[in-house]
């Protein structure tokens, strides 16, 4: 165990030794962990949940009844999975840019790609997909 002593300080009377401990090393190591909550959902203020119903993204591993964490107010990058409103319809698709023009790509051969005719409104970018068994 470590001890502390007064050395080279003649004006201070020597009062003896005190036992000190290092504490549990496990405690300190755990400071470098994050909670499951922070890991799955780092941007709490802009995250929303949404339940999947279609199989349009099934080949991307997103199944009906999965729960998605969607971030609002984020600019999507090409290749992000997004929830968007295209010509008055809400869909879950890959967001792709083709020469700066956005279009939406499914991950299911039975669906066709969507090229917005009038409007494309982004609801949010998908950040996680959760499936509870």
């Amino acid at each position: 165990m470590a001890t502390s002593m007064a050395i080279n300080l003649p004006t201070l009377p020597f009062r003896g030794t005190v036992a000190a401990s290092w504490g549990s090393p496990a405690e300190e190591e755990l400071l470098d962990t994050i909670s499951f909550d922070d890991w799955i959902n780092p941007n709490k203020e802009s995250s929303f949940l949404i339940k999947v119903s279609s199989d349009a993204m099934i080949d991307a591993g997103i199944h009906p009844d999965d729960v998605l964490i969607v971030e609002r107010g984020k600019k999507p990058k090409s290749g992000d999975v997004v929830i968007a409103e295209v010509d008055n319809e809400w869909v879950l698709r890959y967001y792709q840019l083709d020469n700066g023009k956005p279009f939406l790509l499914p991950a299911n051969g039975r669906y066709e790609e969507l090229i917005p005719h009038t409007t494309l409104v982004l609801i949010g970018v998908v950040k996680a997909c959760i499936r509870k068994y």
Binding site: N41, K44, E45, S46, S47, F48, L49, I50, K51, V52, S53, S54, D65, V67, I69, V70, R72, G73, I83, E85, W90, V91, L92, V121, I123, G124, K132
Partner: protein
């Protein structure tokens, strides 16, 4: 005296959500965007109206039946306070990203002081406010109005100038110009009595008032009036109250019932039902109240209340029924029609602190605890209406029938692992994808 030299001695933002409850509903259900939406289905009264509904003349407080007549396509939703609270909390958290000095003024309004933060944000005060507004709007997906000025009073005046999605700056130089156009009765904290008094002295606009000499103001008004005068002149009297609001400092339950009643037992049953519901919630959070407040609202919307301090903190209706009955006896008047009752359990303490006093019978209290544990587990298993006190019986029956369709969507749309009682603290977007 009044005039100001520097344009920004202090910089305070007032954030005000536009038609907050209705906006939250439109944010979680994008299909409702641009449509007339009102909340308050469970009370048969418009609690909040979207701007689309307001444009058709539908205001807060209107009976739903009348609102439907004004607009047959009106979307009517039950209030989902859980979702609104989530949005409210997020709003204040986002504000705290910009400055640590944030006041949670109400569920949909707040202040943020940004004095001295220009260098941190590398931009001017109005630009910081604009960024805050943009962040709130894009992350929450609801309409936000912002006012920026030198004091809370002036910031409130700024946000009132343009709504919805408004953005108004009143700097030291612009102050006089704005106050010149503002009727004195529209100033925050100036009530009808004060404005009448001021008008007798020829004060019609906020600027008339702000330009009066201090001796005059001190002579005719009390302290809050003098403070308002200072605030209008750009001198901060009301600092931000930055403490984060704690949850469950009080638990309240209110219910409107139809038809209104002047039957003593019927109204009491409604009140006791609220007492039971509030107590059950308190027990769920292991809290006991040291104070209980009851109130009755008449058909003309006037409300009357009484409060009682309890000898021992409690969350058991059996114990509370006698003080509640006594207060009720003082409040109730059989010549009046009542439309709603409410109870507030206040001064909550952790239930473990509610020890028995020396002269009480600990056995009796232990028995009561056991009875309520049994009641709570029965209610958990078989629903809220499985067991209740005889005193609230008539209310339980009527409410049970009329409550169909009054449950917010979020409480029915449960994710795997969620229960009717506990859900994830994230808003759920209600569209099919």
């Amino acid at each position: 005296m009044p005039g100001l030299v520097r344009s920004w001695p202090r910089a305070i933002i007032h954030v005000d959500c536009d038609a907050f409850f209705a906006s939250c509903e439109q944010a979680v259900n994008p299909k409702l965007k641009g449509k007339p939406v009102v909340t308050g289905k469970e009370r048969n009264i418009v609690a909040a109206a979207s701007y689309e509904a307001k444009a058709l003349g539908i205001k807060r407080g209107v009976a739903l039946w009348d609102a439907k007549k004004m607009c047959p396509d009106l979307v009517v939703l039950p209030s989902d306070y859980e979702t609104y609270s989530l949005f409210s909390k997020r709003m204040f958290q986002i504000m705290r990203r910009f400055t640590p000095s944030v006041e949670e003024y109400s569920i949909d309004e707040g202040f943020a002081e940004i004095t001295g933060l220009r260098r941190v944000h590398h931009c001017s005060y109005p630009e910081i406010a604009k960024q805050l507004q943009n962040t709130l709007t894009s992350e929450l997906g609801i309409g936000i109005t912002v006012g920026v000025s030198l004091t809370k009073t002036l910031a409130k005046i700024a946000s009132k100038k343009q709504k919805p999605k408004g953005f108004t700056v009143i700097s030291g130089q612009e102050r006089e110009m704005v106050l010149r156009e503002l009727p004195i009765e529209d100033v925050w904290n100036v009530g009808p009595n004060t404005s009448e008094l001021l008008k007798r002295f020829g004060i019609v606009t906020a600027l008339d008032f702000a330009n009066k000499p201090e001796e005059f103001v001190r002579k005719i008004l009390t302290k809050p009036g003098v403070e308002t005068w200072n605030e209008l002149n750009g001198r901060v009297m009301w600092e931000l109250e930055t403490a984060e609001k704690e949850e469950y400092q009080t638990i309240s339950k209110t219910k409107t019932f139809t038809p209104p009643s002047s039957d003593k037992d019927v109204v009491f049953a409604q009140l006791m039902k609220n007492v039971e519901a509030a107590c059950m919630k308190a027990r769920r959070y292991h809290q006991s109240a040291k104070k209980i407040i009851i109130f009755l609202r008449r058909n003309d919307h006037k409300a009357f209340g009484l409060e009682a301090k309890l000898l021992r903190p409690s969350s058991y209706p059996t114990e509370l029924i006698s003080p509640v009955r006594e207060m009720y006896g003082h409040l109730f008047n059989s010549k009046e029609l009542y439309r709603s009752t409410g109870v507030i359990m206040a001064d909550l303490v952790p239930a473990s602190h509610s020890q028995t006093s020396l002269f009480e019978e600990p056995n009796r209290i232990q028995d009561m605890q056991r009875v309520y544990e049994a009641i709570d587990s029965l209610r958990d298993k078989y629903g809220k209406y499985a067991v209740y006190h005889a005193a609230s019986m008539s209310a339980q029956k009527t409410q049970h029938l009329s409550s169909r369709g009054d449950v917010p969507v979020r409480k029915d749309l449960l994710l795997k692992g969620e229960t009717k009682r506990q859900r994830l603290p994230l808003p759920l977007i209600q569209i099919t994808i």
